[in-house]
């Protein structure tokens, strides 16, 4: 990740401030001052988070690593029943990832190739529009966030999402088969949810808050650097914008006007 001199100085300054002052110094700051200062750290200051996936680099190994890292980080169990499966990020073939775009003369390479799908963190998300309790909403940084502890489980968002990116806990996730989930919960720092609520990809918002990339992006970088490029679509200098300037990209169902922010560079 590139960092210019200005960003470096800001981070250095903030670190010094927090480091020297400690907890007391932190508390002395006016309310919101620390948060305002944190906003200048690149990964916590995005205005429109998005992702570009390099389809040519995305092989099965990278995709599997992404899925595993995501589901481990977010305590997503294997249910063992496709009808009840919970998916934050998953693999899907071209004709099902982009229905209506397929044709019988499609390049061989694309016919059987899997794509990596996740929530599109739409600019104009229908799921947030229909939620009766504001349990899912669009954050200022572009993340379509989900409060699994407010959700009443009406599943209106699942009917509204044209990408199948939302999953419902049909049963208790804690009762997921032990033989499929020997180490569940895989991440004790991430909250558990009750049955009967909807969940989805959050771009690992709590990791971003710490200045860390989403779990899938981090996992992909270890296997194949630049397969997943995450960044601020509002920032013309960001890596993701640079990648999208250079390569032709497609999005899932853009005709619906949802403004998907996941780009597939083909």
């Amino acid at each position: 990740m590139a960092m210019d001199r200005r960003d470096f100085l800001k981070i250095a300054g903030l670190t010094a401030l927090l480091g020297i002052g400690g907890k007391t110094g932190f508390e002395l700051l006016a309310p919101g001052a620390a948060e305002a200062a944190l906003k200048d750290i690149p990964l916590t200051a995005g205005k429109k988070w998005g992702m570009a996936l390099d389809v040519l680099l995305l092989d099965e190994e990278v995709m599997d690593a992404c899925v595993e890292a995501c589901h481990n980080h977010n305590n997503v169990p294997h249910i063992g029943n496709p009808k009840e499966e919970i998916k934050w990020i998953w693999k899907e073939t071209y004709d099902h990832a982009f229905p209506g775009q397929e044709n019988e003369y499609l390049a061989e390479a694309f016919k059987k190739k899997n794509f990596l799908l996740l929530c599109n963190h739409c600019t104009n998300p229908p799921c947030c529009r229909v939620c009766p309790t504001k349990a899912t909403w669009k954050r200022e940084d572009g993340i379509v966030m989900m409060d699994m502890h407010r959700c009443i489980g009406c599943r209106f968002c699942m009917a509204a999402c044209p990408y199948g990116a939302r999953s419902f806990n049909w049963g208790d996730p804690r009762k997921a088969p032990k033989e499929l989930n020997p180490d569940f919960p895989t991440n004790r720092e991430f909250p558990m949810r009750s049955m009967g609520v909807v969940e989805k990809c959050t771009f690992c918002a709590e990791r971003l808050a710490k200045g860390l990339f989403p779990a899938c992006v981090e996992a992909a970088a270890k296997v194949k650097p630049n397969a997943l490029i995450f960044g601020d679509l509002d920032d013309p200098q960001s890596e993701v914008r640079g990648a999208l300037r250079k390569r032709y990209s497609i999005r899932r169902k853009p005709e619906l006007g949802t403004g998907p922010n996941i780009f597939y560079m083909i």
Binding site: K83, R155, S167, M195
Partner: protein, 385 residues
């Protein structure tokens, strides 16, 4: 007046006990669902709404149709309907109670239900549906009860009741329009994304509701000394006829748009429902059953000679109820989810516990209806004497 519900024949009490038994059984299965989760239903990540939401939609229609007796009486001064407005209003009350219960049993986390009020989201149609349904139920309960007690005392009802009546008329149209908007504004659900959805909902409501009301009037005539009246039933029969013609016509419009445009997304759900898709054809016999009963109903209703015979009209009404129930209570919801967002076909079918919970809700609705109709018919019998 409620004391009227406490005095009845053994047959009345027998019926009440049967309903209470079914309510108890349904509640037992609900406790099972409450502890195990909605996985005990046939719903899945692909078909995430099912039988419950279908029933909600159907009974919102029945509730809205109360306006078909209220409107002619109060706006057109069609005096004959004065005898049965209260039956329409009380049917609406019982239907809305079923709607509310069907939403509640469908929720994944019922204890958090009040979040809809604590954190309201005005852009959510579900929020507005909750408001219009609850207000409509109160309007009908207050109007029906006050008009009935005035009748009992042999006095005209209060002026403010009439104001509520005038509010309740457009309100009836609103409840089914808002319910149609639950579906008609979702991108990517082709079967639902149609501007004519609210019109279809209203037309199907205005045939299925009055058809049910005709059958209820015939039951009331048979089991009580109160006669809702021949003319009343015939006028309701005409309303059912017009509305059923519109209902079938509107569906034909959907077929034209889908199959003349040849857009796959528009055709696939209809193909799935009536012919099966990719080898999946669970709903095909049901949809053709609906089509058959719709055809028979139209035949019996349109021909004056058959419509005018009360017995044949009753058969036609049963046909209308079956056809519209399959169309709205099963096909509408499932067709919206098949094929899914990935153009894959996953089928849905309700499970036994899911049906039993629904039976419990129906029984609750019929229990409320029985009590309210008992009160209404007892008052009317008393006044007649």
């Amino acid at each position: 007046m409620l004391d009227k519900a406490l005095k009845g024949s053994p047959r009345y009490w027998g019926w009440v006990v049967i309903l209470l038994g079914l309510i108890g059984a349904g509640f037992g299965f609900y406790l099972y669902q409450f502890s195990e989760g909605l996985k005990i239903t046939g719903m899945s990540r692909d078909v995430s709404w099912g039988f419950y939401i279908g029933q909600l939609t159907y009974f919102v229609g029945v509730a809205a149709s109360g306006v078909m007796v209220v409107l002619p009486y109060y706006l057109h001064d069609y005096k004959a309907f004065g005898r049965i407005t209260v039956l329409g209003e009380f049917l609406a009350v019982a239907s809305i109670i079923m709607c509310g219960l069907f939403v509640m049993v469908d929720l994944g986390n019922l204890p958090r239900m009040l979040n809809i009020i604590i954190y309201p989201n005005p852009t959510s149609i579900l929020f507005w549906d909750m408001i219009v349904l609850n207000v409509y139920m109160l309007l009908n309960l207050v109007i029906g009860w006050n008009v009935l007690s005035a009748e009992k005392k042999g006095m005209p009802y209060a002026g403010w009741v009439k104001v509520l009546v005038y509010i309740s008329i457009p309100w009836a149209f609103s409840i089914h329009t808002v319910t149609a908007f639950l579906y008609a504004g979702l991108p990517g659900r082709h079967y639902w994304l149609t501007a004519i959805m609210a019109a279809r909902f209203l037309s199907s409501a205005f045939c299925s509701g009055p058809a049910l009301l005709i059958l209820l009037c015939l039951i009331v005539r048979k089991f009580t000394r109160f006669d809702p009246g021949k003319e009343q039933i015939h006028t309701l029969g005409s309303i059912v006829t017009y509305a059923m013609i519109l209902n079938v016509f509107f569906f034909a419009l959907e077929l034209f748009t889908a199959f003349y445009s040849q857009i796959p997304g528009h055709m696939h759900p209809i193909v799935y429902l009536f012919a099966g898709l990719e080898g999946h054809s669970r709903l095909v016999p049901w949809m053709w059953t609906a089509a058959f009963f719709a055809f028979v109903a139209l035949l019996l209703l349109i021909i004056p000679a058959t419509r005018r015979k009360i017995d044949v009209l009753a058969v036609a009404c049963v046909c209308v109820v079956i056809a519209t129930w399959i169309d709205k209570g099963l096909g509408l919801v499932i067709g919206g989810f098949v094929p899914n967002a990935f153009d894959r076909v996953f089928e849905y079918w309700p499970t036994f516990p899911e049906i039993m919970i629904s039976v419990g809700v129906w029984a609750t609705g019929f229990f409320v209806l029985t009590i309210l109709y008992k009160v209404a018919t007892s008052v009317k019998e008393e006044v007649a004497v």
